[in-house]
């Protein structure tokens, strides 16, 4: 009986192709929008996760916001205090930060200038395109050496090998300091914490004693132990800092934390957008109801004949509900194709990688079936309740 009804539905759809196509359009657009939004939500969140993870999920960065009360606290020794006070920390590396112009070969470029320890590069998982990191010794001995980011190397040296060449820092006072390039970083995916490609790195001690006479640390890079949950360590660290320096003197940032947050936000946003797309599905459903009512009215005579031949009300109801569901399911499948193409187009434009989730397909098929049953019910009831004699005499 069920397959007979599906056959009947298909032949009814075939006999009025234009009308079927137009009434399907609503469902196709509705389901397409739901599929596109769910898939784009997934792709967006994976994309965000990917760029956050570029900075390393085991890293917590603490930006200092020193005031008169706390400027003496944020020293390089304070890093050790943090490491010893909070469980699950492998290392704490203090960093100084400044920005300025760098010149070489008469070319000049703006850069973020970081004073940091030699361990920083391995902690941040940075690899080298040319040369290597400066050593612990060079740091202790205030050597005038520099590691430059990929973009800086391109700007200043183009195809030349920068290793062994000198770059000049132009200070605010107008003085010029010349440092030797020992390493060039490999190109790195843009991270939300900072742009490594547009930075230069000099030993921490050199920075504090020779470049800028200031020893208030601008940030601490905390590398967590891999046996500990970064978010948990971050929470403990924040608690410790809140009691020792006060919560308005620092800001902590961990990619893991942001990843979790961003995923929550995109999930909520996707759900919200999908709900809006659901409204178009509702409108599509009303279209289906309309077309089914027309179909029932047009086929009154047929319904009368079927009743005379012994079709019970539930059989007639079944026939029209199956027809409505066949219609919406067809719309659903077309919608999945339509929505996938939209997702593909948008992710191509945004430069994300597309992930098509089977979840969205299940949701789409489920929704279109539900719409078919829900909006097919009333027309089907109308058909099943027709008086056999009146229906037979209908012209």
């Amino acid at each position: 009986m069920f397959w007979e009804n599906v056959k009947l539905a298909l032949s009814a759809m075939k006999s009025s192709k234009m009308r079927t196509a137009l009434s399907l359009l609503g469902i196709v657009i509705g389901v397409g929008a739901v599929v596109a939004i769910l898939n784009l939500g997934d792709s967006a969140s994976q994309n965000i996760t990917k760029s956050l993870n570029a900075g390393g999920t085991d890293i917590i960065t603490i930006w200092t916001q020193p005031d008169e009360r706390t400027e003496d606290v944020f020293t390089s020794e304070f890093g050790n205090t943090l490491k010893n006070s909070v469980e699950g920390i492998d290392s704490v590396l203090p960093q100084m930060m400044s920005s300025g112009a760098i010149r070489s070969n008469k070319k000049s470029v703006g850069a973020q200038i970081m004073g940091t320890e030699s361990l920083y590069f391995s902690a941040q998982n940075l690899s080298f395109d040319k040369g290597r990191a400066y050593t612990l010794e060079q740091n202790i001995n205030n050597k005038e050496v520099v590691v430059i980011g990929y973009n800086i190397a391109q700007e200043l040296f183009e195809n030349e090998n920068p290793i062994g060449k000198r770059v000049n820092f132009i200070l605010q006072s107008g003085a010029v300091k010349s440092y030797e390039v020992v390493g060039v970083l490999a190109k790195k995916e843009q991270s939300y914490t900072m742009s490594f490609d547009n930075s230069v790195f000099i030993p921490f001690n050199t920075f504090t004693t020779k470049l800028v006479n200031n020893d208030v640390v601008s940030s601490y890079v905390v590398k967590t132990n891999k046996n500990y949950d970064t978010i948990e360590v971050s929470d403990n660290l924040n608690r410790f800092l809140d009691t020792s320096v006060g919560n308005d003197s620092y800001q902590s940032f961990s990619p893991a934390m942001i990843t979790t947050m961003a995923n929550e936000v995109t999930a909520t946003l996707s759900l919200f957008l999908a709900a809006i797309a659901g409204i178009s599905l509702l409108v599509g459903g009303i279209g289906i109801m309309n077309i089914m009512l027309v179909s029932v009215a047009e086929r009154t005579k047929e319904i009368g004949i079927r009743k005379a031949l012994g079709a019970s009300p539930s059989v007639i109801r079944g026939q029209f509900i199956v027809e409505a569901v066949t219609l919406t399911l067809l719309g659903g499948f077309l919608g999945i194709i339509f929505g996938s193409f939209i997702s593909l187009a948008v992710t191509n434009l945004a430069g994300w990688t597309l992930t098509l989730s089977y979840k969205s397909f299940i949701v789409a098929v489920g929704f279109s079936m539900f719409v078919g049953i829900f909006f097919g019910w009333y027309p089907a009831m109308t058909a099943s309740k027709l008086d056999p004699i009146e229906a037979l005499n209908y012209e």
């Binding site: 005579k301 009368g304 012994g310 019970s312």
Partner: protein, 224 residues
């Protein structure tokens, strides 16, 4: 226990039209035995169509009892009435009432489909019925590819396919020319000769005279 295949006891069917009751049938009692060939005759508006609808379980009486093949139809719901129409009654209509989008074979199969029969057996029985009415070479044609007489033969095949207790025909020759009509009438006579109960509704005296028994209806009452 009612033995007769059709048994009507003081059946009334009133319609409310506006503020008036129209007495379409006003106390009709009737018995038709198994194997009879009966014509129900009367002018239009006499109530003969109402009676046929009641016997065919397309309609229910305002009061009185109607027994079809021993079963009282009074108080049955739509589903139960559909079951009786499917099992006990075969309809043949003046306007053929075939399903326009289905082949002759599928048309004949439809009552068996509603009886829940398996596709293979359905097809076998439908072919058998089509052979009986002499249309086995037209089974894959749609109604619009058939002549009036052929359409009515398909309808008759459909009416007999489930071997019902009653064959109920409402002016079955009314839309046909007299020659074709006579052939259709002959087919009914053959089916009756095989022992089928045929009830024939007509206002045509010549056709009525070919039936063994005639029941005349006027103003909702029988005047036999």
């Amino acid at each position: 226990m009612v033995k007769n295949v059709i048994h009507l006891e003081d059946v009334k069917r009133y319609y409310l039209v506006g503020d008036f009751f129209v007495k379409a049938l006003d106390g009709v009692s009737l018995d038709i035995e198994r194997g009879e060939f009966t014509a129900i005759m009367g002018p239009s508006g006499s109530g003969k169509s109402t009676m046929m609808n009641l016997i065919g379980c397309l309609d229910t009486a305002t009061s009185g009892n109607i027994f079809i093949d021993g079963e009282n139809t009074a108080g049955l719901n739509e589903t139960e009435l559909a079951y009786i129409r499917n099992k006990k009654v075969g309809f043949v209509f003046q306007q053929f009432n075939l399903l326009g989008k289905e082949s002759a074979l599928r048309n004949v199969e439809t009552p068996l489909l509603y009886a829940g029969m398996k596709p293979k057996e359905r097809k076998r029985k439908a072919i058998e019925a089509l052979e009986k009415v002499g249309l086995s070479d037209r089974m894959y044609h749609r109604p619009n590819e058939l002549s009036g007489g052929q359409k009515q033969r398909v309808a008759i095949a459909r009416a007999i396919v489930s071997n019902p207790a009653i064959l109920l025909a409402d002016e079955p020759t009314g839309a046909l020319d007299s020659k074709t009509g006579s052939q259709i009438m002959q087919l009914f006579e053959e089916l009756n000769a095989e022992g089928r109960t045929v009830v024939f509704v007509t206002h045509d005296r010549d056709l009525g005279n070919r039936c063994r028994r005639q029941i005349h209806i006027r103003d909702g009452r029988i005047e036999e």
